[in-house]
Point group: D2
Chain length 134, copies 4
Amino acid sequence: MTTFVHTLRPRYAEVDAQGVVFNAHWLTYFDEACTRFFESLGFPPATAFFEDFDFMVVKAVLEWRGPAGFDDQVDIAVEPVRFGTSSFDLRFTAGVGQRGVCVGVITYVSVQPGTHESTPIPDNVRAKLEASSA
Amino acid sequence: MTTFVHTLRPRYAEVDAQGVVFNAHWLTYFDEACTRFFESLGFPPATAFFEDFDFMVVKAVLEWRGPAGFDDQVDIAVEPVRFGTSSFDLRFTAGVGQRGVCVGVITYVSVQPGTHESTPIPDNVRAKLEASSA
Amino acid sequence: MTTFVHTLRPRYAEVDAQGVVFNAHWLTYFDEACTRFFESLGFPPATAFFEDFDFMVVKAVLEWRGPAGFDDQVDIAVEPVRFGTSSFDLRFTAGVGQRGVCVGVITYVSVQPGTHESTPIPDNVRAKLEASSA
Amino acid sequence: MTTFVHTLRPRYAEVDAQGVVFNAHWLTYFDEACTRFFESLGFPPATAFFEDFDFMVVKAVLEWRGPAGFDDQVDIAVEPVRFGTSSFDLRFTAGVGQRGVCVGVITYVSVQPGTHESTPIPDNVRAKLEASSA
């Protein structure tokens, strides 16, 4: 199984006065990587999300190993690393070339679309996530 | 009539590698000033907006005269400067101390809440806006 | 001369409670399109900018024609439309499919890298910009 | 010792299509709260930071307990909870009224201003932080 990798380039607006990507943007980058990861599993983001299923982030653990700057090529690997009944964890590993930059483990809870009520992860979503972590 | 002034301090995250507030944030600052301006007219933002009335931005003209930096005290004066049947313009004049920083004129169209359909500006909103521009 | 077009997809974080891209993000999108446009002219953003030349935005005129939503394919055409000695205008025309969404004309002033002092547009930059507007 | 509390109101731009503050903004809110916390200790943000001392975020653990919406009054308590030689942790506890919303524990490393080199926490900063956690 090949690990899914999403690539992006930090915008000028996202780099702070220290010349590095401001920390909050990593959660946004990982959300973008999550969107593309689900697309790679066959769930078109703008239609599958919010209609067939939806998730809310309940926990995030982020660790930074080094900086990323304006227009660096940032590669973000996405891997499912834990499954519960109604929640799961994705691990995001971001680097610039061979250099590690930021690792995040984010916990998502499956909710009924349009609500904040937790619900079991839909079977077809679970099957795809499990296959991608094999 | 005293001009309404909203004061804010740029966040570290909003200052770019040139050490100044990135240009896009001025639209966000003016939106925040607009929220507080309507509140000052007696419309609590989280309840009046989207229920009693709603607006969409259709045009913005922004001119920068100088930079604002991290944690500067930015004062933003808000003044209605044009009224149509279903649209109006607000002028936002931002400065740091006596120094001008950014002026924006933003055109809002009144829409039926929950839609993108234009509708006449509600009478009570128009009356308050006109009084504040006297 | 083929017009340069940059394509992006609005992030979930950039869509507001009305379900459309919040207005301020268009300045960020146009900045990203500007970065890629200069790259297409042969100026690698992270090295050419700030070293060989630099620009500050002094004016922006934005008009919205319709909404863009989460993960829409947004195409942004970039065209130089005015040249002065030390400033120039780029026009950004954003659409989703055949539908117009936002047009921006942004005025940039050439500054000495690391300063806010205006300086004539470097000859090699001007030549490339003029060629791309032919 | 009274716990320092910073209050803010989510901007419309920060609320997503689910009607709640998008997760990444909590890191920005906590950064703003950190700025005001250091100011309350006697360190003016725009001058003390980057000149007398500087910090980089190396780890963040965030847990969400419920949503915050547009213009809610969000109170963020800030408390130092760990001290090392060159790093320390701040805990941010955010709520709306009596309802918990988000708790973050963020690890900062003291760096020599203008560099990414770690350095012991300056004595005057340590003394103030320790006093505020008593």
